[in-house]
């Protein structure tokens, strides 16, 4: 290496910096420059019906698209003005956490939810989960009491404090019976219930806590020291609680796996396929490509000439450069560039004697027991965990992303080939969907899962700008079981709820939404949808300030009646969104019709062929057993080409109807 930083003027180096920045991060840096960018920069979205909604607590303006709003039910008096949080479902009941306790709603008539129990037992965040006759509730805040008292806990160290998991027996749903606690060192911000398919004796609770560690005087053994100072540190681990179903009062922590161990500087997620393609095209066209902080960028032409000149000088040559010089330059470029960027390894290592700490906790873990995987959203990382042994989860992969402030939660698609993570930038109490906030920040990041590795594909952020009076960022959601498609309904706090279609993972789009104006236009007051989950044909949202919202899908150019009806054939006995169930569709005529609708949308068969198949299905449905089977098999046989996946899926759905 002949060329050094001294060979070039500072001006040149700065110029390269600036250009690379433009190439690699485009508008991001510009948009966040102070002063803030005018809202007009998001011109296409300004016509969105969600812009300019009137403020109000119970009478805010609303905008809705491709959803039907079935009901809004305000909180009961003892709970109004206190944060509504997460949701779980069992049978006809929606169980809504609230910082003052738990609300149990009978939603068998979704137009008129009936409050069957308001259980006063304050603790934030009151994250809720269910399993059979058990209800689990998270306590993290310092005011949570073992006796459910409302007076809080004043002392920094107190025997009255509960931070961890409360366990209730809800065999009699109108009278929950508080049967046990498991105290944890950092409390429970969230938790996830794991039912292993091979273990019918126990369920397991993975506890995530993000608040500071409790003093050992309050809970013996708790240590907030670094692990090299105290191997029993409560940092850098999660807790696994085993709940014996025969006697849940014996629930206890059985392991504190350090799933972050050895997590040294994982690469940021790779570039999006489109970016990779652009780089490859530029490279093919003869452009010079450099790498900076693990990302590739095309070196702007105007710097190439200067660099080649300096390179030739360093070789004791004079221009113009020959083809051989150009080849030599291309080979030397990575090290030239590394040196320009101050990549002097020895110098940098002086600063990094301390072990890389990695994340100290997860915010939330989504378990998908049927595929043996979990997605851990853990501070600065998204983790993929193997959970086939519930007590001993271990890490398969980790990704980081400079656009992600705080990995918040994860959701797999139904067949386990994709995973999405959300970034709760600003913690949920800040307005991060303003027109000036970059679309990659506080968004979803979407990944393909390939052989236990996560491969980044794209971002998705609520496409409508929100006011500074509205806390807004990516939050909780669940899959909607439309067969053959990946649909995700999601809370964006006061950004409302947004339904994302991520079937085409490189190009996710919004296909439905609901939004309200801010709680007030005088200031930012916490509100909006904390969680929204699909449950047995309903889309149920826990609204922080307004109560319980219930919606249903409506047909649109993006979703047919048949697809909605097919989704509604999926029936769950219970749902914890962070213990993801596999959706399975019973063989129904409406499923076959939904598949045909998808063939039509994909343009995979001609209109006549589709029309004949539809008619054939309708006719077959009216027939008796044997003739029906024959008619169905004849329909399958009439399909000429199964080469298209949508056509194949439709044929299989029709064939499955033949007894």
């Amino acid at each position: 290496m002949q060329l050094t930083l001294n060979d070039m003027s500072d001006f040149k180096v700065l110029g390269v910096f600036a250009s690379i920045m433009l190439v690699t991060i485009t508008a991001t840096a510009q948009q966040t420059d102070d002063p803030a960018v005018e809202a007009g920069d998001m011109a296409p979205a300004m016509s969105d019906a969600r812009v300019g909604l009137a403020p109000g607590l119970f009478d805010a303006g609303e905008a809705i698209w491709n959803l039907g709003h079935i009901s809004t039910t305000q909180p009961p008096e003892q709970f109004v003005g206190v944060t509504n949080s997460d949701l779980a479902f069992m049978g006809d009941y929606a169980i809504q956490g609230n910082y003052n306790g738990v609300l149990i709603w009978d939603i068998s008539d979704p137009a008129v939810p009936v409050l069957v129990k308001d259980y006063l037992c304050p603790a934030s965040q009151s994250d809720v989960s269910v399993y059979e006759n058990l209800l689990f509730v998270s306590g993290e805040g310092r005011g949570g009491r073992l006796d459910c008292g409302t007076e809080g806990v004043q002392e920094a160290v107190s025997a009255d404090r509960l931070r961890g998991i409360r366990i209730f027996d809800i065999s009699d749903i109108q009278n929950p019976n508080y049967i046990a606690n498991v105290q944890t060192c950092r409390g429970s911000h969230t938790h996830s219930v794991l039912k292993n398919p091979d273990d019918n004796e126990n369920v397991y609770i993975y506890v995530s806590g993000s608040a500071p560690v409790r003093p050992a005087e309050e809970l013996p053994g708790c240590s907030g020291m670094m692990p090299d100072e105290d191997p029993n540190s409560a940092l850098f681990r999660i807790e696994v609680i085993q709940v014996p179903l025969a006697d849940p009062s014996l629930a206890a922590i059985v392991n504190s796996p350090r799933i972050f161990e050895g997590l040294v500087a994982p690469p940021r997620h790779g570039m999006a396929p489109d970016d990779v393609k652009a780089i490859e095209e530029a490279r093919a066209a003869g452009a010079f490509v450099v790498e900076y902080s693990g990302r590739q960028a095309v070196l702007p032409d105007r710097y190439v000439a200067g660099l080649i000149e300096s390179f030739l000088e360093s070789q004791g040559k004079e221009g113009p450069a020959t083809a051989a010089d150009s080849v030599a330059f291309r080979e030397a470029l990575p090290s030239i560039f590394a040196e320009m960027m101050g990549g002097n390894a020895e110098e940098n290592e002086e600063e990094s004697d301390a072990p890389d700490p990695g994340p100290t906790q997860c915010h939330d873990i989504t378990l998908y027991p049927e595929i043996g995987l979990a997605g851990g959203a853990c501070e600065g990382y998204g983790l993929l965990l193997d959970i086939t042994d519930p007590v001993n989860p271990f890490r398969l992969d980790a990704v980081a992303d400079s656009n992600f402030a705080y990995w918040h939660s994860a959701t797999f698609n139904n067949d386990g080939s994709k995973i999405l993570f959300t970034d709760e930038w600003g913690g949920g109490g800040a307005p991060k969907c303003r027109a000036s906030d970059p679309p990659e920040w506080g968004a979803n990041a979407l990944f393909m899962l390939n052989d236990g590795k996560m491969e980044f594909q794209s971002y998705y952020k609520l496409p409508a700008p929100q006011t500074p009076q509205e806390n807004c960022v990516a939050h909780n959601g669940s899959l909607i079981p439309v067969p053959g498609r990946d649909l995700f309904v999601q809370s964006w706090y006061q950004g409302g709820i947004s339904l994302m279609d991520w079937t085409d993972i490189a190009n996710p789009i919004e296909i439905a939404y609901h939004d309200r104006g801010p709680v007030t236009d005088e200031r930012m007051e916490m509100g909006g949808s904390w969680s929204v989950y699909w449950y047995n044909g309903l889309i149920v949202s826990s609204e922080i300030a307004r109560g319980l919202d219930i919606f249903a899908l409506t047909a649109s150019e993006y979703l047919t009646e048949n697809e909605i009806a097919a989704a509604n054939t999926v029936e769950l006995a219970y749902l914890n969104a962070q213990g993801q169930p596999t959706y399975r569709w019973p063989n129904t005529f409406v499923l076959a019709h939904a598949r045909l609708d998808q063939v039509e949308r994909a343009g995979a068969l001609g209109a006549d062929a589709i029309s004949e198949l539809r008619q054939g299905l309708t006719d077959a449905e009216a027939m008796e057993d044997d003739s029906r089977n024959a008619a169905l098999m004849a329909l399958v046989a009439s399909i000429q080409d199964f080469g298209n996946a949508r056509v194949l899926a439709a044929a299989l759905a029709i064939a499955a109807l033949a007894g």
């Binding site: 920045m21 109004v80 310092r142 920094a156 101050g342 990094s352 890389d356 980081a400 400079s402």
Partner: protein, 190 residues
């Protein structure tokens, strides 16, 4: 008996809304002095992070540090506003922060953990390119560690945390800064 100017359900709704605002007001009456001191101090602490981050565009910061600095400005400005609102809601004196993080009359807040003395700020002001990146990350890690210590000290005190907004804010600062420290340490190693 009743002069029904609006339907009954609307009356119920109005009284429920009144209760909502009453409860929000109540929730802002359980604070303690330690939380007031924390908010006041953290505003000054964050303001210095703004001063440091505002240097990035003109001091030749690399792409990664540029993004980080832009994010710190966005995040900490919002948090400063939240903390100012928190103080205002509780009739406490509200420190002002001017554009770029400068605070009138608060030139020497160096008693707080992680605050940079003026010499280090000057050193950063005079650094360029890769040297700026290295110094920025090094000093910002120290600065963030200070904020983490401030949150832990806060939570060691009696009476703290009944105020839900204070708990939420302090917890968010705690976890954000820990996350960012890890990211910056990774960047330093790159």
């Amino acid at each position: 008996m009743f002069a029904l100017t609006q339907p009954l359900w609307a009356q119920d709704q109005d009284s429920l809304e009144a209760l909502y605002w009453q409860r929000i007001a109540e929730s802002r009456s359980h604070f303690v002095q330690a939380e007031v001191d924390f908010m006041t101090g953290m505003i000054a602490h964050h303001a210095q992070a703004l001063v440091m981050s505002a240097l990035a565009p003109n001091n030749g910061a690399g792409p990664a540090v540029s993004v980080l600095a832009a994010r710190i400005i966005n995040a900490q400005k919002d948090e400063i506003q939240l903390m100012q609102t928190w103080l205002r809601d509780r009739d406490q004196p509200v420190p002002e922060v001017h554009a770029g993080g400068h605070m009138p009359g608060h030139a020497h807040h160096h008693m707080m953990p992680g605050m940079l003395p003026e010499e280090q700020l000057d050193e950063l002001r005079n650094a360029h390119g890769a040297e700026f990146d290295r110094l920025f990350l090094t000093y910002m890690i120290t600065h963030h560690h200070g904020a983490v210590v401030m949150v832990r000290d806060l939570f060691d005190q009696d009476g703290v945390g009944r105020d839900e907004e204070a708990f939420r804010l302090a917890s968010a600062i705690h976890v954000d800064q820990i996350t960012e420290i890890a990211r910056m340490e990774t960047m330093l190693e790159d």
